[in-house]
Symmetry: C2
Subunit: 341 residues, 2 copies
């Protein structure tokens, strides 16, 4: 750390300038970005969507194995994921950060490089926020803003009986990636000369450290003329998210165990950790895939989509929420999710 620059050398205004210099405005709707009391936006669509999430060191991430660039990227991606889940298009973000005394200018640059990359990928403008000191760890609070034409927003409450339940990508990998990172951290703490074995598990580790918001699927569904009836992003685990959709839509659901999408690396890791892969798929969080329902009539449009799995169907409320196996047996599903408190 001898060549690093303490934040105190830069000061708050220097820090704001450093951040501002990284920003390129991509959205025509950004009238005034960083540099005033508030940003000024001029949405091109009739409706605006807003979502906000906070990540705390020691609770949501561990700087021992989470590179700052990835962390910056992830902080944006998880918020964009919420905008995606509304069937909206992300346009702007604000970022509040609290930095501990140990933070260097170089570390802040890494963090904002990740934020910048995510802004570039998702075409969102960083338009404001707050930088402050923290007596303890790093805190990042992001608010994402998006736009959607009136009538196009998709809520959690629109699922109807007989709708197909779909999910993008694969599930459980982010949770298993975290198990590997935690294990390698413990091994490193026990023996600092040890090299972590991460290469064979790059995919699932990447799912944990640098998730993507599925904006590609949102745009793709629109192109194919599919409007989901309900949608949510998988941050707390599939089962928990399905419970939200069912509760808010007033319906039940059956999920087919054999249709649940899982990556080979995740399966291998589950075996290695002696974890039930189905539990990892159902309750492992942070995959940031989209769980959505479409009318049965859209079956032909989604059935061969390389990135969408049809995993079940919406049933009557009285039927409850069940997991069915290939023998036709059904078991009530438990929503586990994350316990924060």
């Amino acid at each position: 750390m001898s060549n690093m620059t303490p934040l105190s050398e830069l000061g708050e205004f220097g820090l704001i300038k450093l951040i501002k210099d990284k920003v390129t405005i991509q959205q025509g709707s950004t009238i005034k970005g960083i540099g005033d009391d508030a940003a000024v936006l001029e949405p091109t669509e009739r409706q605006v969507v807003v979502s906000s999430d906070m990540l705390l060191e020691g609770v949501h991430f561990d700087l021992m194995f989470c590179p700052l660039k990835h962390l910056g990227y992830k902080a944006v991606a998880v918020n964009v994921s919420d905008i995606a889940a509304m069937n909206a298009r992300p346009t702007q973000i604000t970022v509040n950060i609290a930095l501990g005394a140990k933070f260097t200018v170089e570390a802040v640059e890494e963090l904002y490089e990740g934020i910048r990359l995510a802004c570039e990928n998702y075409k969102v403008d960083l338009v404001g926020g707050d930088t402050t000191s923290s007596r303890t760890g790093l805190v990042i609070s992001v608010t994402a803003i998006g736009e959607v034409a009136k009538g196009e927003a998709v809520l959690r409450s629109g699922a109807k009986e007989n709708d197909l339940i779909c999910v993008t990508g694969d599930l459980g990998a982010a949770y298993l990636g975290l198990q590997i990172l935690e294990r390698e951290k413990q091994a490193f703490l026990a023996n600092p000369d040890m090299q972590p074995e991460l290469e064979e598990r790059q995919y699932i580790i990447g799912r944990q450290l640098r998730p993507e918001a599925r904006m590609d699927v949102v745009y793709d569904l629109k192109e194919r003329g599919i409007k989901p009836t309900a949608m949510i992003d998988v941050s707390d685990g599939l089962a928990s998210e399905l419970f939200h959709i069912c509760a808010q839509s007033g319906v039940g659901a059956t999920i087919y165990k054999d249709n649940l999408p899982v990556d080979e690396q995740a399966l291998e890791a589950a075996m290695e950790f002696k974890l039930d892969p189905i539990t990892c798929i159902l309750n492992g969080g942070e995959d940031y895939e989209l769980l959505f329902t479409v009318p049965l009539a859209d079956y032909d449009k989604v059935k061969n989509h390389p990135d969408i799995s049809i995993i079940g169907k919406i049933t009557a409320k009285g039927d409850g929420i069940n997991l069915a196996n290939k023998h036709g047996q059904s078991f009530p599903l438990q929503a586990q999710g994350w316990k924060h408190f």
Copy 2:
């Protein structure tokens, strides 16, 4: 604390329900509030303004003397103040909170009661946010959203030579209130039987603990047909804010020492603490008054306003930023502001 309920008894979903039950929607533009991946808004004006601020325990507030209800109120007010400084109307907020393990359900209710009160006063809807655990202290991150007709937003960059410099209310009181609270805290720590002497200083202590955003002045200026040329809220101290306006407008300024508004209690406290009152007025932060400039032609409209002081005038950039006394002597002003790092 024996009758208090630990947060773990409520769980995350119980906590979200507790918060949601406190919310009354007042804005027609709130289409969907708490309960989905994002809030859905339908602004009635052409432009949307967004501002975000984060408050951390031990950095921005001390729970030893800051009641949670006031803190909740303040977290909203300081963000609404930024919307006021844009000449906009606040409409919605999102609130992210991180709670330490010591937090009880009753404490969260106090905090949200303050947030609710502020929402009611400023007519903003709480439409979303995030609740999470903190390994250390309380963190509150608020994003405020507002609306403004196209062409009505007031930036920091519009001040012109010969404009009048105005400020609302009085200055320095919040800083001096903090000095009193800190002194009484030390006295209490030294002797817990001691009763704090706060009654004679209620006004300035209130300025620190429960500031108000000057939305009243924003609405009042509009009614009087006054549109400021530049505006900023006084969060870091008058001098620092004036430097922002001058830098972004490319102008200089002269402030008249004798015109600076100060409350009697603040003056008394400054004397008690042997602090220069002018320094407290110029550099004490957190007053959340509005500093703005108006064309000289508006002089008659503002001169007798009970809540507005004309404190100076905008000059040419080359003249610099100065403080003038009644003898006509001028001294360059120093912007001190807050050092976070």
